[in-house]
């Protein structure tokens, strides 16, 4: 507010007099005039305190009382807050439930700005009393406010100061570290109140209550059963968010239920409402599908008979279609695989390139998942190759490579069909896949040397992935047919070591060269060793992360399949946080950490995009450089180990390509889709330049950031490897 003394004349002066008039109607008229002036753009800020005085929290009309307290608490100014204490405590005890439910939320608003005010006036205790209110809406809002305060105070404690979470201008005063954390822990009596209010509440209130129930620690199996039984009717609610909220509560409390028949009943009752969600608005559908995907990872049997529901409709938005594909593959079984394949084949003839590719990929995943269906899948893929549509053929080749990795030496008969398509492949992944197949089956393919020579001729122009595969494939060929391939193996090793500008390609060629020249038997043992077949993972996230995500069904984290800390907060997701989290889960194992650390890599790059108009970008950069070495150093090992298990290029590319999280649609079988094959493992751990490229490319495209930040970030990464 301006420090100048108010003018003694003019319109505002008159208005002030009116606003302080003893007559109600004159004050009302004055307020109307102030608003009119504001609308046309006149400066009426000087009248602010006078208008405020007119907010009457003791008006006879409850709507006005509620409006007054709501408006006052929305104004984010220190001065008003100090006026607020008395009216708010009056409103919290108002006889009218509408005023009480409004006032309950006001406490959360005030806590955000000035937590000590709430503590001093004992508002939080009043809120706890309001949980026992007779009116369901008041109960719901009291629970909402308490949960909000709970979150805020935990966040404040983590951030190292006891103040609110706001970064507004009133921040400096609120940073008193003496405020104790205002935790909202539900006890037995509160539980029964919440369960009682649940059936009478508005839909939004029910969601708030269900959220609170999800956080409740049940005292024993009986109580868990009781909660499940009371929440189950909510499955029939018309609001999809209520249904998902009920699913969440039941998934959490079902862990403790011991009566197996109840568990079976819960699971059975859960299926129909989940299916019904698939006919809601597309956005809700998408949220439901992402969550169903998670539910199926925990309980694959939940929708066993419902696959047909997930068939794509013509007018489904692309993001829904892609999710449906994922769910369909999860539901694939021996019984329904024929229908599924028929459906997937149809999708592969549609026009949306991205969707078609995913459909082809799904065929491959089905083959890997269900062994008995693999011959039919291969047949469908061969039919698709006959269409000669470029992207279909390329995707099919990649997929067939995966099938070979799962069922070695079972489908060699298809190789002659693949090879003629050599010229049409222009994508590195497809090329690399075909080269891998040729190398792997070199002894069965008569003209393998000629085919590989084609790639050798254009060696320098090829991408690194293709170069690496070419080197390996030709070495394999040589080991299998030493008489025919002497010349070509020398040529490839020479080209790779002399002409390639990629250190991995050079290193790999040197290693092979030395192996071949010193001990051909050892070379055979290394290069032609039998590799374990790949499989389709049942879960896309680590078990502990899955439990965390199931506990947050319908939340953003569960939609993204990533722990919340990876995309909210300011990159404060370091080693400490991870180990703390790990301790929180009983069934945590090392895979949690591995997975969390992997997502950290993605999240680091996402934080580069964290726009915050206020903070200068330098601050951001410095945060990045300070925290990265600490939290990143241990994770490099994890990344490397993940990389060794899967394919580093794909893994990291995937992370980065998803980094603005527009559609987190990684296929469930990440390991299946790796283009490079197991023979690349030797080079995998050392392929940092790929990762660096991925990051640099990403940094380059992020327009919202000054160039300094990506650079610092990539230097950190470079240092790691």
């Amino acid at each position: 507010m301006n420090g100048r003394a108010p003018p003694r004349k003019g319109e505002n002066f008159e208005l002030r007099a009116e606003l302080n008039s003893e007559y109600r109607d004159r004050r009302a008229d004055a307020i109307k005039r102030v608003i009119a002036n504001m609308t046309v753009g006149k400066d009426v800020s000087g009248l602010f305190p006078d208008v405020l005085k007119n907010m009457d929290t003791a008006d006879q009309n409850p709507l006005i009382r509620a409006l007054a307290i709501r408006t006052m608490s929305t104004l984010r100014a220190e001065k008003i807050l100090s006026y607020l204490g008395d009216p708010l405590s009056r409103c919290l005890r108002d006889e009218n439930p509408y005023v009480r439910k409004t006032a309950a939320l006001c406490v959360a608003k005030v806590y955000e700005l000035k937590p000590e005010l709430c503590v001093d006036h004992g508002f939080i205790d009043v809120l706890r009393d309001l949980v026992g209110d007779g009116n369901p809406m008041v109960v719901a809002n009291a629970v909402t406010a308490l949960s909000d305060i709970h979150e805020a105070s935990i966040l404040a404690a983590q951030n190292g100061f006891g103040g609110g979470t706001s970064r507004g201008e009133d921040d400096e005063e609120s940073a008193s570290p003496t405020i104790p954390a205002q935790k909202f822990i539900i006890d037995g009596p509160t539980l029964s109140r919440i369960l009682l209010a649940l059936n009478e509440c508005s839909e939004w209130g029910r969601i708030a209550l269900l959220n609170a129930l999800a956080k409740y620690q049940a005292s024993g199996p009986e109580e868990s059963e009781h909660i499940c039984e009371r929440v189950m009717p909510q499955f029939q609610h018309a609001n999809g968010a209520v249904v998902l909220g009920a699913v969440k509560v039941i998934m959490i409390h079902m862990r403790n239920v011991q009566r197996q028949e109840l568990v079976a009943q819960l699971i059975k009752k859960m299926a129909p409402p989940l299916v019904t969600l698939i006919s809601s608005a597309p956005e809700v559908q998408w949220v439901a599908l992402r969550n169903i995907n998670l539910l199926l990872q925990k309980r694959p049997d939940i929708l066993a008979n419902e696959m047909r529901v997930f068939f794509c409709k013509y007018n489904d938005p692309p993001y829904v279609k892609v999710e449906k594909l994922d769910v369909m593959v999860r539901l694939a079984s021996e019984r329904n695989v024929n229908t599924l394949l028929g459906e997937l084949k149809e999708y592969a003839s549609e026009v949306d390139v991205d969707f078609v590719r995913k459909a082809v990929k799904a065929i491959g995943q089905t083959a890997i998942k269900i062994e008995s269906a693999a011959p039919r899948c291969v047949q469908v893929l061969l039919d698709l190759i006959q269409t000669r549509v470029s992207y279909v053929v390329q995707e099919a080749v990649v997929v067939i490579k995966d099938i070979f990795r799962k069922y070695p030496h079972s489908y060699e008969a298809v190789i002659p069909t693949l090879c003629p398509n050599l010229d049409e492949l222009d994508e590195p992944e497809a090329k690399a896949s075909l080269i891998w197949i040729i190398g792997e089956y070199a002894e069965k393919i008569e003209n393998a040397d000629e085919l590989l020579a084609i790639f050798l001729d254009g060696f320098k122009e090829e991408s690194y992935a293709v170069q690496l595969q070419t080197v390996t494939a030709i070495v394999k060929l040589f080991l299998k047919k030493p008489d025919h391939a002497q010349a070509i193996v020398q040529r490839v090793l020479q080209t790779a070591t002399k002409d390639s500008d990629n250190p991995d390609v050079r290193d790999k060629a040197y290693v092979y060269w030395r192996l071949l020249s010193t001990d051909p038997a050892a070379a055979k043992a290394v290069v032609l060793s039998v590799r374990p077949p790949i499989s389709l993972p049942n879960t896309t996230v680590a078990p502990a992360v899955l439990e965390e995500l199931l506990g947050g069904i319908s939340s953003l984290a569960s939609v993204y399949h990533k722990p919340a800390a990876t995309f909210i907060g300011k990159g404060r997701y370091g080693v400490d946080e991870m180990s703390k989290r790990r301790a929180d889960f009983e069934d945590a194992d090392t895979s949690t950490q591995k997975a969390l650390e992997t997502v950290v890599a993605g999240q680091k790059s996402e934080n580069l995009l964290d726009f915050d108009a206020d903070e200068p970008s330098i601050a951001d950069t410095s945060i990045g450089t300070n925290t990265v070495p600490a939290s990143f150093a241990p994770s490099s090992a994890a990344i490397a180990s993940v990389a060794a298990a899967k394919s580093p290029l794909d893994e990291l590319m995937d992370l980065f390509s998803n980094s603005n999280l527009s559609a987190p649609t990684n296929a469930p079988g990440l390991s299946v889709t790796s283009p490079t094959g197991p023979s690349m493992q030797a080079a995998a751990a050392a392929s940092s330049p790929f990762d660096f490229d991925g990051l640099a490319g990403f940094g380059g495209t992020s327009t919202t950031k000054p160039s300094g930040a990506p650079k610092a970030q990539s230097e950190d990464l470079l240092g790691l490897f």
């Binding site: 969601i207 009717p233 029939q236 529901v309 939340s555």
Partner: protein
């Protein structure tokens, strides 16, 4: 929860903007404009950049957007955005740029009421209409009296109904609206068939009436569940009872009661509302069978042969049958021949509309058509969208 709420027009101009929390600046709208509205390749309804998440829904020519900075409940936000859309429709007919521009004040007033500190509050349209109006204010005394009632109602256990409704004649109407969803393979095998049904009720009843609703006496919701209680299921089948896979109810229905004894009991809102919604996959008789033969003999021609068969009892009729048959985008003209009804090409929608005023059960008829296509340099494959069929049924009585 929701930190900010925006409505944008197609150009990305902000029409409505409301901040509910201090963690965001109004300029956040620029980010959405750049990332979503001017980005032709958006493939997700939620975009997260840094720690800020944007949830959007597109309706007509406006974007409705909610922004959060936390691990928000995604389903809740989308349900809320759609509720905002339906409230807007109920208040000013439709939600588009023009409607938003002429109702600024009302929208802000509504927003304040339905969303407090980013948490959705009362969104019952009937209740809202009692105290958020465009009419001028009544006498102060009346307002005060009403307000007390309104506020009790808006927060009470029956927030959807006023207590003092009075009619001289008490009556209630029930409409059943069903949509048959059918997925058929090229060979004609039914892959998936289900019915989405809605039961719409118009209740003009006095006081706070306690209503009960039954479907064919026995609502067989779960076959196995009932079987356990003794051979009811067989009888239900014989009676051709309704077998529902799932149903959802208006919030007035007592869910606990339904869960315990399968009865639908409720105190209805005044006027029209959707009482329940259901889904069924058994005993679905497809009313029509459509055989299509569409070929593209040359790049400039598409030939259609659409055979329609009424698959119901010959004693029944279907009225106002309308088929919408898609044509490629570069169609210049269409020549159609039909045995009954009328068919014409509608260039604006790229469809052939075939209207048949009445068709009798078991009747068959065919449309043949030939579409001429303009030659284009860049020819994308035609996606062959599905044919749409609408009709209304009347019982012979």
């Amino acid at each position: 929860m929701i930190s900010a709420f925006f409505v944008f027009n197609q150009k990305g101009e902000v029409l409505i903007s409301r901040l509910f929390r201090a963690d965001l600046k109004r300029s956040i709208s620029d980010v959405f404009r750049i990332q979503v509205i001017s980005n032709p390749d958006v493939r997700s309804p939620i975009i997260t950049l840094g720690s800020t998440s944007f949830f959007h829904v597109r309706v007509n020519n406006v974007y409705v957007l909610a922004v959060t900075k936390c691990n928000a409940n995604a389903a809740l936000i989308f349900e809320f955005l759609y509720r905002f859309v339906s409230i807007s429709r109920s208040y000013f007919g439709k939600l588009d740029e023009e409607a938003v521009k002429s109702n600024f004040v009302l929208i802000y007033e509504l927003l304040d009421e339905i969303l407090d500190f980013g948490y959705p509050q009362n969104t019952e349209i009937d209740a809202l209409k009692m105290y958020i109006t465009t009419e001028s204010i009544k006498s102060e005394m009346a307002v005060r009296e009403d307000s007390a009632k309104i506020t009790i109602q808006a927060t009470g256990a029956t927030s959807w109904r006023r207590a003092d409704v009075k009619y001289r004649k008490n009556e209630a109407f029930v409409d059943v609206i069903e949509t048959v969803n059918l997925l058929m393979s090229k060979e004609g095998a039914v892959l998936r068939a289900d019915v989405d049904g809605q039961i719409m009720m118009r209740a003009y009843l006095s006081g706070t009436p306690e209503c009960k609703f039954g479907l064919n006496d026995k609502l067989v919701l779960e076959k196995r569940y009932i079987q356990n209680k003794g051979g009811l299921s067989d009888r239900a089948r014989a009676d051709n009872a309704v077998e529902l896979d799932d149903c959802q109810f208006h919030q007035c229905v007592r869910l606990g009661k339904f869960d315990s004894d399968r009865s639908i009991s409720f105190i209805p809102p005044d006027g029209e509302f959707e009482l329940m919604r259901y889904r069924s996959t058994t005993n679905i008789n497809l009313p029509f069978k459509l055989q299509t033969h569409v070929v593209e003999p040359t790049k400039s021609r598409v030939e259609y042969s659409i055979h329609l068969k009424a698959n119901f009892d010959p004693k029944l009729n279907a009225n106002d049958v309308v088929l919408r048959i898609p044509t490629p985008l570069n169609t210049t003209s269409v020549n159609c021949k039909v045995q009954i009804g009328k068919a014409k090409y509608v260039p604006a929608e790229n469809i052939i509309i075939w209207k048949i005023p009445r068709i009798q059960g078991a009747q068959e008829t065919t449309l043949t058509a030939e579409a001429q296509l303009a030659t284009t340099t860049h020819r994308q494959a035609w996606s062959r969208p599905p044919i749409d069929l609408d009709f209304s049924g009347k019982s012979p009585l």
